[in-house]
Structures are given as C-alpha cells and as structure tokens.
C-alpha cells in the first residue's frame, strides 16, 4: 500500500485491490506510522490532489461537437520528456492516479512508455479514448494501464445526438477489443437531454461488450460546448431530479450480478439533493468516498501547455505543472478551495454540502457568470423559486 499523510490521517492506495482508503489517525498509527509534519499545525496545510488529469495531446480528428478542450487534428502534442517531468511533479506531491487524456491520447506512439514512467513513480496510470482507430497494435500499447475508458454515449443515434456523428460502432469495437485483450475497460457515458432516456440500454450494451463499469458524465459548457447550444443539450430539470431513482434502478438491474459498476462524476452529485433518501444520509455517500466538486482539492488537471487547472473544464491557473508542490500558494486554486470551505446559501445549509462541495463551478460560471452555487442543482433551483415567490 502507498500512504499519504493528511491532517486527518492518511489516504492509502491499496496495491492488491483497486481501492483508495481514507484512514483516520488511529488507523495510521495501527500501521506503525506517524503523520509527522502533516499532523503538526494541520489546520493550515492544503492537501495535494490524489488524482490528476493530464492532457497528453490536443490532437484529435473526431470533431465531437461538445469537445471540452476544442481538440483538432493539428493540435499540439508535448514531447515525452516534458510529460515525464510532470510525472515527477506528481510523484513529489504524492498523487496516486494519473488519467491520460487529450485530445485523443492514442494518437501518441509512446503511451506504453508513459504508462511505465507513471508506474515507476508509484502512480497508477489510466486512460480515456474515443476508441476511434484503436487497432490491435494500439491496444498492445495500453496493457500497462490499470483501466481504459472508451467514450460511448450509446448505440447508434444516441451516440450521434451527443457527438454530432455516429461512431458508436467504432467505440463498441474498441470496448470489445480491449476486453478481449484482458484490459480492464469502462465506458464514459455523457448524459444529455437526448441520451439520458436511453441510459439503461446504453449501460446494458456496454456491459455486454465486456465493459466492467460505466461512468456517467454531466454535459459541461467548456470548449466547443460553451455555446448557447448548451442550454438545449443539458439535462432537463426533471431529468436532473430523477438521477437518484435512475441510479437505484441501474444498481438493481445492470449492477445486480456484482460484475458491473456505475460511477457518477463530480458534477452529478448536486442532483442527488432531490432524492430524499440520499439527502437524509450524507454520511453514506461520504463513507463510499463519493466526490462532488474536488477541483483544486483532491483533483487537479494538467493542461496540454503544462499548466495546472482546478479541473479539466476550468481555465488554467498561472502555476506550472512541474511546480505542483507549490499549489497551496496559487491564488486561483486557493479561490476555488475558499468557495468550498465557505459556500453561500443555499449550499451552506445543504445536508450534502460536505460531499457535493457546491456543485459544478464551471456550469455556474457559464450559466450565471459567477463562481457560485450550481444553478442546475434542484435545491438551488427551488431556493431561487422561493425567493422569487
């Protein structure tokens, strides 16, 4: 196991099973360890991220309508040496997981080397791909990744309604190829107004192709998706409010046999406030390590030009990726953390506050023009309605 001390105890990454554990101080002492400096004057110490999303290229020929980094066929691609220096910075900061993305990361021919470089530094490498053009030769270069997720929003026209073209067959072949090669594979499923009604079918299809999990992703207004079209593509208020029952149904169907899991992304957590049962028991979410907005907290992103951003959808800070150890002093990252530490109403009095952390600030900034409460959160919507009434 790999231990990283925190003011409250330690994050522990297990090596014999895929799990990260938050262990309290007594638990850390039971390991025969002491937090040392991390446990002295703990109140002022800012923790480094445990997961970093690293854009290894801005090159991609897919042309998805909603691409959050506006990737293009002639996008820039940093040299491997630069990325290895960024991996050094992750190791120095004690980051557990690096997720390679882009752009289309499989356009690089050195992904196997980068995966090895991450592992040599004690970091678990994972990867997201569109699956387009994923040949057997490219699959071979992905064997060192702990998991590969393929962007798959649904069969046929469902995929097309999210991305603007139908490459679902290529994504399905990629899931099959990766699974057949013995590589742990998941599906990234973007939820839009059009794809949400078909999520059961999409997950069942992904599972039948060999995926072991699906990650549900909220559509976010960044890159090419930061346009007026966002308002028509985002989940409707009714769909957002039905997330809890939807997850309950998926758990009882596609997950029932225990061989398939469903993840939700950080930006979907605020929608759980509409589910009375879940909202009453935030400790259950916390115990299962469910993360809301961890931008500039447990999560950070490295942009393709080597800067640190609070998350992949947010503007980068002035901090160089190789200076991640100095993250606590960066004013932009500090601004994001400060909002989480003291959010305004209605977040301040929300039962899910400590898990949700105020919802998606990227959505708030786009829709409302402020770094504030998530305007699509059902609780925020209801509070605004009460104020207006």
């Amino acid at each position: 196991m790999i231990v990283r001390y925190e003011p409250w105890g330690a994050w522990v990454k297990l090596e014999t099973q895929a799990a990260i554990v938050a262990l309290d101080r007594d638990g850390v002492r039971a390991l025969g360890l002491d937090g040392g400096r991390a446990w002295d004057g703990a109140a002022t110490r800012e923790s480094a991220p445990i997961e970093v999303h690293m854009a290894v290229t801005a090159r991609c020929g897919a042309g998805c309508e909603g691409c959050y980094i506006d990737a293009r066929p002639d996008g820039v691609e940093p040299p491997r040496e630069a990325l290895e220096r960024e991996l050094d910075a992750l190791a120095d900061a004690g980051v557990f997981t690096v997720a390679f993305g882009g752009g289309e990361p499989t356009t690089r021919d050195d992904l196997d080397v980068l995966a090895e470089a991450a592992m040599a530094r004690g970091i678990t490498p994972v990867l997201t791909t569109s699956g387009l053009g994923l040949t057997d030769a490219r699959v071979e270069k992905l064997r060192r990744f702990a998991q590969v997720n393929v962007s798959y929003d649904g069969p046929g026209e469902t995929y097309a309604m999210v991305r603007g073209f139908d490459a679902s067959a290529a994504a399905e072949r990629a899931i099959e190829r990766l699974a057949a090669a013995g590589i742990r594979v998941g599906a990234n499923v973007v939820l839009t107004r059009a794809s949400f009604p078909r999520v059961d079918e999409t997950l069942a299809r992904a599972k039948s192709l060999g995926a072991c999990e699906a990650q549900l992703l909220r559509y976010k207004p960044a890159g090419r998706a930061a346009s007026i079209e966002y308002l028509a593509r985002r989940l409707s208020s009714e769909q957002a409010r039905s997330l809890g029952p939807t997850l309950r149904r998926l758990a009882a169907t596609v997950c029932a046999a225990g061989d398939f899991h469903v993840r939700i992304d950080c930006a979907l957590v605020p929608f759980l406030s509409a589910d009375e049962t879940i909202a009453k028991d935030p400790d259950a979410l916390a115990r299962w390590g469910v993360f809301g907005c961890e931008a500039a907290g447990a999560l950070a992103a490295f942009t393709v030009d080597g800067r640190v951003a609070p998350c992949s959808f947010a503007r980068s800070s002035g901090l160089s990726a190789t200076s991640l150890a100095s993250h606590a002093g960066d004013p932009e990252l500090a601004r994001w953390r400060a909002h989480v530490a003291a959010p305004p109403e209605p977040c301040a009095s929300c039962s899910l506050r400590t898990v949700c952390k105020g919802g998606c600030k990227v959505v708030a900034s786009f829709v409302k023009g402020v770094h504030g409460p998530d305007p699509e959160c059902p609780r925020v919507v209801d509070a605004a309605g009460e104020r207006a009434a």
Partner: protein
C-alpha cells in the same frame, strides 16, 4: 512486515473502490450505495484485510 496489524473498520473514514479512468472529471462508484448491508460489509472487510497485510510505502517527496 509480517505481523498482523490491529486495523479496525471504524478507522476507515471512506473507501473509494475501483480505478476510474475518466480524464475530465472525477468519478465515484455509486451502485454500492444501494447494495445490501452484507455486500457493503464484505467490501469493507476486504479492505481491512488488505490494510493488515500489505507492505507500507509512503508517498510524496516531503512525507517519507
């Protein structure tokens, strides 16, 4: 370390299962929230067992 450690389940503040491989937003397994108490207990018991057995390394430049 061969001696078994005295790790208790109540010392686990949170357990995040799986690797997750999305490169844009951080994800969390959610179906376990709706699992039976038996399934949940089995996951936590397996984690405790691993904490008792696995060799310890400390991450980070300034932590070791």
């Amino acid at each position: 370390m061969s001696e078994e450690r005295d790790i208790q389940e109540e010392q686990l503040r949170a357990v995040r299962t799986g690797h997750g491989a999305n490169c844009s937003s951080i994800g969390s397994v959610i179906n376990t929230l709706f699992a039976t108490a038996t399934v949940g207990a089995a996951v936590f018991a397996a984690v405790v067992a691993a904490l008792k057995r696995e060799q310890v390394k400390v991450a980070g430049k300034d932590q070791a």
